[in-house]
Symmetry: C2
Subunit: 218 residues, 2 copies
DNA sequence: TCTCTAAACTAGCGGTGTAAGTTTTCATCC
DNA sequence: GGATGAAAACTTACACCGCTAGTTTAGAGA
C-alpha cells in the first residue's frame, strides 16, 4: 500500500488506541506491531507520526495527566484545593493503572505534568507558603498519590490463608485483603491524605502565621 | 563447556550481579544474556537456577526490601517506630532507585515484604490502633515512601530556564530544581512524613484515646 | 560400578524496536 | 498545468530479547 488518499493514522488516533490496549492488556503487552495491527496498519508506519515508542508512551501519559483537575487552586482555600487535586489526580491514575509505572517516572517535559505543577505551586505560593515549602508540599503529595496508584497495597496479597498464617503471625487476615482491594486502597488513601493535610495545616498555622493570610483567593 | 567441576553460578551470585547491573545501567538494560555475560556464562544457563527472568527480579527485590529496618516497632513508641521505618525504607529504595518501579508493583509473595508488613501491622495493633486502621496506616506510608523513591520530583526537571518561563508562569525557577535534586526530594520527604505523622498522632489522640494506652511496648 | 541428576552448553523460535529504502499521493510553486 | 518535494503508507532487515529443547559431562548416591 502506497500513500493512501486520506491518512490512516493521526497522532491522536495512535495515542487513543495505545491507551486502550494498555488498559486492556497491560503496558508490557503493547508493542509497536500490535498497536499498528489494532490500527489496521504495519508496524513501522507509526514512525511517520512518532519518533520512538517512548514518544508514544509520553503522549499517552500526557493525556492521562491532562485529566487532572487543578482548578481549585484558583478559587478555593489551599487545603480544600490540595484535597480536591489529590483526589482528582488519584482518579486520573487509577482509571488507567497500567500506565502508572511509566507515568510516575519523570514529569519532565510533558506539558500536562508541567501545567499541573505550575498550578499547584502557584496556588500554594499565593496562599502564603514560602516558595521552597510550596515545592516540597507539591512533591510530597505527588509522592503519595503516585505511590497509591502504582502499588496497590491490597492487590499484592493472595487469597490463600495458609500462606500467611505460618510465617507471619500478624497477617492472619491478610488473605482477606484481596477481596476488599479497592476499599482498602481507597481507605488508606483517604486516611493518609487527611493526615497529611492535617499536618500541613498545623505547619501553616505555625510558620506562615496568622488567620488573615489564609484567604482563599489571593 | 559441560558441567563444571565447581558450579559457576549460585542464586546469590546471580542476584548480586543482577542488582549491580541494574544499579549501573538501569532496569531496561538488564537482559538475561548480559547478566550471564557478566557472570562469564551463556544466557540460558541462568535457567538452571531461576525459572524466569521475573524470578530473578523478585529475588533482587527481596534482597533490597530485606535491608529495611523494622526493629523500632518492637521497642519504641509507634510514632518513632513509624518514622524510623519510613526513613529506613526510603534509604533502602533510594540506594537502588532503578529497581523501584519493579519492586513497587506488588509485595505479594516476597518474603521480605511480607515480614515488613507483618512487623508494621503488628506494631501498630500492639500500640492500640484498631486492625483496619493499622492496615490503612501501613499502606499509606508505603504509598508515600514508594512514591518518593520512584519518581524523583526534582529529577524530572531539565536545566533549561527558557523551557519553563514561556508557558508556566510560576515555574520560572524550576530549572534550578535539577541542581538541588537530592535535597529537594529529601526535604519534600521529610516535610510530608512529619505532616503525615502529625496528622496520625492527632487521629490517635481522638480515636484510640487516652495517654496511658500510648505506651511504647505493649 | 551404575545410574541419575545437575549445570553448563548450542541451536533456534517467535517477538521486539527501529533503520533503510520504495512507492504513490497530495500540496505547492513556476 | 506540469514539475517538485514532502507525506504516509509499504517491505525488508538487523540486532536483540526471553525462553525452550536437546546435548554433554561432572559429581552424588545406590
Amino acid at each position: 500500500m502506497p500513500r493512501p488518499r486520506r491518512p490512516l493514522l493521526t497522532r491522536d488516533l495512535i495515542v487513543e488506541t495505545a491507551l486502550a490496549l494498555i488498559d486492556a492488556d497491560g503496558l508490557g503487552a503493547l508493542s509497536t506491531r500490535r498497536l499498528a495491527a489494532a490500527l489496521g496498519v504495519q508496524g513501522p508506519s507509526l514512525y511517520n507520526h512518532f519518533a520512538t515508542k517512548d514518544d508514544i508512551l509520553d503522549a499517552v501519559a500526557d493525556t492521562v495527566t491532562g485529566a487532572v483537575d487543578t482548578s481549585g487552586f484558583a478559587s478555593r482555600d489551599w487545603v480544600v484545593a490540595l484535597r480536591d487535586w489529590a483526589w482528582s489526580y488519584r482518579r486520573a491514575l487509577t482509571a488507567h493503572p497500567n500506565i502508572v509505572p511509566y507515568l510516575a517516572q519523570g514529569p519532565g517535559r510533558r506539558p500536562a505534568a508541567l501545567a499541573m505543577a505550575d498550578a499547584v505551586y502557584g496556588g500554594l505560593v499565593r496562599a502564603g507558603w514560602p516558595p521552597a515549602r510550596a515545592t516540597h508540599i507539591g512533591a510530597a503529595l505527588r509522592y503519595f498519590v503516585a505511590g497509591s496508584a502504582l502499588g496497590s497495597f491490597a492487590r499484592g496479597f493472595v487469597e490463600d490463608p495458609e500462606l500467611y498464617a505460618a510465617h507471619y503471625p500478624h497477617l492472619r487476615q491478610a488473605h482477606r485483603l484481596a477481596e476488599h482491594q479497592q476499599s482498602v486502597d481507597e481507605g488508606a488513601f483517604a486516611l493518609g491524605l487527611d493526615a497529611l493535610l492535617h499536618g500541613l495545616a498545623a505547619d501553616y498555622a505555625g510558620t506562615v502565621g496568622t488567620v488573615e493570610s489564609a484567604r482563599p483567593n489571593g
